[in-house]
Symmetry: C3
Subunit: 206 residues, 3 copies
């Protein structure tokens, strides 16, 4: 059995795992939203808001711990970056749900489901990778796969833009849908930022 | 009487206070713009530009001082972050004035006044808090109140988006107004970023 | 002959020069795109994609080197910032090309040529400045000129926004053109961020 350095240092791993697992919850709420009746959306938005608050609490706990620790398991700026970037992804996903409810759109273009499927997959991969920060093992495949997913998200996003401007929608609807589709793309980019930071941490430790 | 450490270290506090007091000027120019005749707007934009230049000068003075100092009153990266974030808020407020003049909008939705009222209050709180960095006393209530204001700004912004897409405006007007309303929301977010950095500094010193 | 410190430290300069010279290639592809037939655009976009991949490779090489080096020619955070900011400019220029192809716009407003001319000039100045990081000589005129160019880009951008909303275009076309014009403005801002970091590095060394 591998000895942990100290309980204090250990808990960063637990907190990052908690933040990532919270992103899995959020991405699944996005899937749920897509399949829900319009009348059921506000209740899903309510649960999304709760997930976002839980995320904020975790981010604050990491920052407090960071400021209180003399010794950290990896560089302070990387801990700070990782916590902020996980928090950003949550904010983008929550904003997407918010906008869907706010704009009262009856229907979303079918490719939005593809965007969300990528986010679910990316959040699961991220949640699986966080505990591996402890041993720094088997992280390469995680960030390669996240990069692949981000490229895929990018292509879906471009196709969605072409679709939005194809003439099928009036300008106001384009504006609304573009707001949602763009923020989902930012969430996908956000997962890549997280993976880049994990790569930086792993390279330093190797 | 409390001895100051050195004149050099002291002046960071003065420069942060100057930057924040400049944001009070800017937020009051936003209020003035709202009540002004369309023909009076360019002159207000001129004064806003002057405030923004004064802000730039303060930011550059902080950066020069930071690069020239071996010892700083708090962590270099926090000084850098604080200066940049105060500068960002100024840029957003100036952009809002610019867009109002550029788009020649006769009238703005009434809730824009609520957005600006939050910015005035946030700038005043920030200006009052900066001198307290010297003693690190009584800062908690400042960042709690800024967070409350940012939540309020967020709700006003959401209501404004719903209003813009309610059918009361044509698509081009929505695009213009959304540009203004979004940049005012970014200014409110910017005040929260400033407060988060102040919290980080205070926690480290405690 | 001036002795280089070590081969390792030297190569940062070479890599920054490579990244900047890649931005010259990209800005010239923007010019080429503007003069090309609609049918020739996808091939230009293909070459832009290749330039962007080359840029990514350089950025990754800098980051790997940074993580592997105990001693760096200037502060780690400045190397990181410079590499990221050069990469950002490339991303904005590639996105502009992508959007032009995607939106199948027959014609762009003539002032877009002015935006791109500024980007070509800024990229050339940046490419000429990078090798001067080695001696830290003659950098002042570079960042003064970049700041001047950024102000110029800002004015062109404002005029373009006024033109887009003048009533000459329908709302969907405004949305498309605004996407392109805004991302070109972000590229111009990006060159200023690069210059600010160069200034920071130079001030520290002086």
């Amino acid at each position: 059995m591998r000895l942990r350095l100290t309980p204090r240092e250990t808990s960063f791993y637990d907190m990052f795992a908690a933040a990532a697992s919270n992103l899995v919850t959020a991405s699944k709420l996005l899937t749920e939203l897509l399949g829900a009746e319009v009348s059921a959306r506000p209740e899903i938005a309510e649960r999304m808001r709760a997930a976002e608050h839980a995320g904020d609490d975790t981010t604050h706990a990491i920052m407090r711990q960071l400021n209180a620790s003399f010794i950290t398991p990896f560089d302070r700026e990387d801990i700070y970056a990782l916590a902020s970037q996980l928090d950003d992804v949550m904010d983008y996903m929550e904003e997407a749900v918010d906008l869907v409810v706010l704009y009262q759109l009856d229907e979303l273009p079918p490719q939005v489901a593809d965007q969300i499927e990528v986010l679910v997959r990316a959040s699961e991969l991220t949640a699986e990778a966080m505990p591996r920060l402890r041993t720094m093992k088997d992280l390469t495949e995680y960030w390669i796969e996240i990069n692949r997913l981000e490229n895929q998200a990018d292509q879906i996003h471009r196709k969605l833009l072409a679709h939005l401007f194809s003439g099928a929608y009036d300008a106001l609807t384009v504006l609304k849908l573009k707001g949602i589709v763009d923020v989902l793309e930012e969430a996908a980019d956000g997962f890549e930022h997280v993976a880049n930071t994990v790569e930086t941490i792993a390279v330093k430790e190797s």
